[in-house]
Subunit: 579 residues, 2 copies
């Protein structure tokens, strides 16, 4: 019994840091079931009551998705005044930026996932989670239809939820651009399962290649890895794969070491073309040294089980090469659920679900969309130019003085962020410089025509946000902030003034802050684009990458696991077991 | 570049401990490809030559299976004089005793597997491994037919290997006793994949049970876990499941905490009935306290998707209970490959492949079988009794003196281990005590009839070895020892004398040393049966279990991983993400 009490004390102490109630449960293991009982009583009310719980006064919020957007929304949401239900087919949050590391076992899949229930638990069960897929959004009746995909379910697997506010954060799906054979014969890199499949697939290729009785040509084909898409994900996977082979597999499969080939197919002229060109050329040189072939300006026409056919845009000639494994990592497209929703609300023509600057879906009062499933349709300043002029021209003189302009400029910049970008691009110090005449001389006042002319090029600076974790996370945090201060801001709005009507907007529009982006290139080297056009490349950047990614982990558990995975790899290398 | 060299030095140093050649590869990353080239040249010859390599002088050994038996055989095999090929559908060795811990995430699947190539690598590529399934053993022509199961294989997936010696270590498969519905509706616990499936299945059950719109009855059904088979594996899984729920899931799914039920179905009268009854009753009491229902004396008649039907042997009544998940962990049976092989060599009637005491398959000169796929058919002493008498009776006096008996007794005990067991069971000090007359008086000599009478009950002590990792590992080590000293022992045999013919056996027969067995019971308690009928139970035994299992790991990598998994669970609990 001494061991027992020692044990429970020790681990109780440790666990109490992870979660206070854990201590109770643990004691219960040694001190009998009574404690367990009272402990869990404290945790919740009786089963059914809890599951059916509804508070008429509280506003009902339904959240679809537990990715970056959904999770960061839930994290900061003040649930004292609302009844929140979360629906997602995955009961965990995945730290997607590390997916490429999972494909080769540099990091274990389990090290980058955290159960949603762990994340929402800290809100004493006020947030309810259902592991199910949302099949349909019925915007007209404020309800969503859901279905559980779990097999052998005893009971009805379909249910519907009513909402006062709906938050759509279901993310996007891989875009095959309707290329024949891609769905059937390509690996993807979007979900955790995808990364695990790739890992097994890579090992398979090596085991295939060493089988007796194959010709050298057949061995080469089995070991030809093709990556379609030269974006950050594709590039990082190529780098991981090259390292996996160079550092680990070459020793286990020495007989085929000269037969391995990695090819990257990119439709654009450069890989990583969303980055600064210093980075893309650095990456291309690095890949060249590593023997990774980069085919730029190539479009994939077809992927069969055995070969991939592509067309060189410049030369116009098509070629077909045999492959062992193809990873498809190009752009993303809307999910069927979102497509259907867009049809309902008259966004049929849109390429992707459009929201206003406050993340509210256009055409729906109480539906918000964030993350990869939606895009902000920034309002053009030229659409409101007359209203702005009218509002600014207090004395209705028909002309705008610098003084009058300065009174409204702050609201303009907040409402139309492109103004700021335009100033930066033109290297203008002050907004009033916009009012200078074509020859650049200062003016005391401008009429409506002059005003229009002055701002005519501002909208050219508008660009939609990238589909990154960074954007989604910021949007989630922003939206929860809005929800938390909804009543408050209804009374005293904190947003910019309305030019077309009177009064002010309740909130400031969402504004994205870019903290930079990494591109790991393998061999303990990485490239990074940091705020202020600052570019950093090489080994030191890789260490920066390690520290940033370790610090960004969602929980202490995953942080410890990821760091210990890195250490494990550093000491023992990667595991090549096919599980 | 400074970072680079620092890095390569540092990690080079670390890695050099893991494997010397790793250092070279690593340098090659920073110091250019030349080193990599020379390094890999050092490692192997050109691809095809290596794959086709055959040395006529060397004896060709083919090993089927990379489980406990196969791996421990390969570990100590002296490959200087033989050309070894290994065939297994799994390219890794799995530390199966920890499988139950994997089912609930106490230990990660990857922590208990080690790539076969890592294990054989240390023999500088002399041992060749093929990830493929053996379809047929053609004993007549000394060849095996194999096929790779990997998808999208470019080239011919079938091949055959010729052997001088064949080592069959393919293990056994789950035995459903032809119970209807078991294959379709039950989880098993034999392979790593099985454990992973169970882990996902358990989480599914909880996610199902909390879905909205289910009746309490339906929730209960989804959370009813049934384990068929009260052996060590089943019991350990039940314990793991109970801990998983009590320590972790209860906090994430508090609303259904009162609805969870674990039922263990055992055909015998007690669980763990292969253990000392002190242990089985301790386990039964522990399970009772934990609320795990144990149904003894029950036979399962049928398992459907929703319910399991069983018959109480004593009362004779059948009952059907709804279930959420059923784990089938009863006995094992021979694989189709082995069945077919048995047909070929005239063992059709045997329940399982029979070998002699030297692990040589009965009816095959050059085929050995070890581990779960075979059993040693110990020769009865009564079959040879006359031969023994004749051989012992040097002066052909027709009677055996104590002196004459003593001359042969050592060989007898080695050849017929049951003699030793018989003496122990009868608490006899000395073998000569066997010769005492029925009244227990010493005799100077016995005739053939008296001799037969004296030994008539000896064979009753024969028992076949359990299908455990311990037995398989010892057999593998024993067989490699025999192979290594084959030539040597052909000249100077080290085995016991032959009674039916002349001379001695080349080797001593295989003898199993039982080092005890553990049964973890959950709540940091375990029971252990140690050599010398010594029984230990409780928390201290659990710590003994930890240390033994940590020390038994096959590699330092897995050792570190398993221990860190235990620590991780101790601090953060188990992960409930459904991946």
């Amino acid at each position: 019994m001494r061991t027992s009490s020692f044990f429970s004390k020790a681990s109780g102490f440790l666990r109490s840091h992870a979660s206070s109630s854990k201590l109770l449960v643990l004691l219960s293991l040694s001190a009998g079931s009574f404690v367990a009982y009272s402990d869990s009583q404290a945790e919740t009310s009786t089963p059914n009551l809890d599951l059916a719980q509804k508070d008429p006064k509280k506003k009902r919020i339904v959240v679809l998705g537990t990715g970056w957007a959904g999770t960061s929304f839930l994290k900061d949401l003040d649930i004292s005044s609302c009844d929140v239900q979360v629906v997602s087919p995955r009961n965990y949050f995945a730290f997607t930026p590390l997916l490429p590391s999972v494909t080769c076992g540099t990091v274990e899949a389990r090290s980058i996932v955290e159960p949603v229930r762990n994340i929402v638990k800290k809100r004493n069960g006020e947030i309810r989670f259902w592991e199910a897929e949302c099949l349909k959004i019925d915007a007209a009746n404020n309800r969503v239809m859901c279905r559980s995909n779990i097999e052998n379910l005893v009971g009805n697997r379909e249910f519907s939820l009513e909402y006062d506010y709906l938050v759509v954060a279901v993310g996007a799906q891989v875009n095959t651009f309707n290329t024949p054979g891609v769905k059937e014969n390509c690996y993807f890199l979007k979900e955790v399962e995808d990364a695990q499949k790739i890992r097994a697939g890579v090992i398979d290729c090596f085991e295939k290649a060493v089988l007796p009785g194959l010709s050298e040509e057949e061995r080469r084909t089995n070991l030809h890895f093709v990556i379609v898409g030269g974006g950050p994900t594709g590039v990082e996977f190529a780098a991981e794969l090259h390292d996996f082979f160079q550092e680990d597999l070459v020793k286990l499969y020495p007989m085929v070491k000269d037969l391995v080939k990695i090819t990257m197919v990119q439709s654009g002229d450069h890989i990583l073309n969303m980055f600064d060109e210093r980075i893309s050329s650095f990456a291309e040189r690095k890949f060249q040294r590593d023997g990774i072939e980069v085919l730029t300006g190539c479009r994939v026409l077809d992927v069969s089980e055995k070969a991939i056919t592509m067309k060189n845009k410049a030369k116009g000639e098509t070629s077909s090469v045999p492959h062992g494994l193809v990873v498809w990592s190009t752009g993303v497209g809307p999910r069927p659920l979102v497509r259907d929703f867009m049809e309902q609300i008259g966004q049929r023509k849109q390429r992707i679900l459009a929201t206003d600057e406050w993340l509210r879906v256009k055409g729906c009062e109480n539906v918000y969309a964030l993350g990869d499933c939606a895009t902000i349709d920034q309002r053009k300043i030229m659409e409101d130019i007359s209203a702005i002029f009218k509002a600014a021209d207090k004395d209705n003189s028909g002309t705008l003085t610098v003084k009058e302009f300065q009174d409204v400029i702050e609201d303009i910049v907040i409402r139309y962020p492109q103004v700021d970008l335009y100033l930066k691009s033109k290297h203008l110090m002050d907004v009033t410089d916009l009012l200078r005449d074509p020859e650049g001389r200062e003016r005391d006042e401008v009429d409506i025509e002059g005003f229009k002319l002055a701002l005519s090029h501002v909208d050219s600076q508008m660009k939609s946000l990238p589909a990154t974790a960074q954007v989604a996370a910021q949007q989630g945090a922003y939206l929860s902030h809005c929800f938390n201060r909804m009543e408050q801001c209804a009374e005293n709005p904190e947003g910019p003034r309305r030019f077309r009507s009177t009064g002010r907007h309740a909130f400031r529009p969402f504004q994205y802050k870019h903290f930079g982006q990494f591109a790991p290139l393998g061999g303990e080297q990485a490239a990074a684009e940091l705020p202020g056009d600052w570019v950093s490349m090489g080994h030191s950047t890789q260490w920066l990458w390690y520290s940033v990614y370790a610090s960004k982990q969602v929980s202490w558990r995953t942080r410890v696991l990821v760091v210990s995975d890195w250490t494990r790899r550093f000491i023992f290398g990667r595991d090549s077991s096919r599980i």
